[in-house]
């Protein structure tokens, strides 16, 4: 049973435009959500997080939106840059500090020049 789902395996975006990556979850106990970015042959690196008490968190070009009623979150990257090309994983946990993260399958983002 996939508790965290990223339904788009891949996404291609023009450089300078907005990239929107989506994630859905089924476990209503999830309270804390994170996005990780992964380059080939490297481990995932933490990008941004959001607690369920918020609906938006912004860090530079990256913004995460959370819609608890829809059990949906999204990551917006604007403007997209070639270095953003990577696999992006959505992850969730039942509370901040519970490190048993449940990851989605990932979305491969390609930024075209």
């Amino acid at each position: 049973d996939q508790q965290v789902k990223q339904n788009s395996p891949s996404l291609s975006v023009q450089e300078g435009r907005i990239s929107i990556l989506n994630c859905d979850y089924t476990n209503s106990m999830f309270d804390y959500f994170l996005w990780y970015k992964k380059y080939p042959a490297e481990g995932p690196t933490f990008l941004i997080s959001i607690s369920s008490i918020k609906d938006k968190n912004e860090d530079g070009r990256f913004t995460v939106f959370l819609n608890k009623s829809a059990k949906h979150l999204s990551l917006h990257i604007v403007p997209s840059q070639p270095g953003d090309s990577a696999v992006y994983f959505c992850a969730a946990s039942e509370l901040q500090g519970a490190q048993k993260l449940v990851f989605g399958q990932g979305t491969r983002l390609t930024i075209n020049p």
Binding site: V4, L34, Y36, A41, E42, G43, P44, T45, F46, S49, F89, A91, Q96, G97, Q99, K100, L101, V102, F103, G104, Q105, G106
Partner: protein, 113 residues
Amino acid sequence: GAGVSQTPSNKVTEKGKYVELRCDPISGHTALYWYRQSLGQGPEFLIYFQGTGAADDSGLPNDRFFAVRPEGSVSTLKIQRTERGDSAVYLCASSLLPDSPLHFGNGTRLTVT
């Protein structure tokens, strides 16, 4: 400062053999985690150490898998009687505190032939 170091980076072994995978966390990080990533999937939680003790080993798939962290720093993931289905990238991560973001190593790619 060095990141999380995992050795070996690649391991090929025959079905039925025993393997050990090593993780050196970031110095000073008290929490250490093992995840497993199969092809086309996101990382799956295996085990979490706080100090020397396993705080949560609920992700270990069966009793062929065991992990230790005897001195609260380096950890070893041990797999007995390996099976072809154990083939995956094994990721180690550490964090300064339990509620801090995870820092992942580059992983060990295990191939069981």
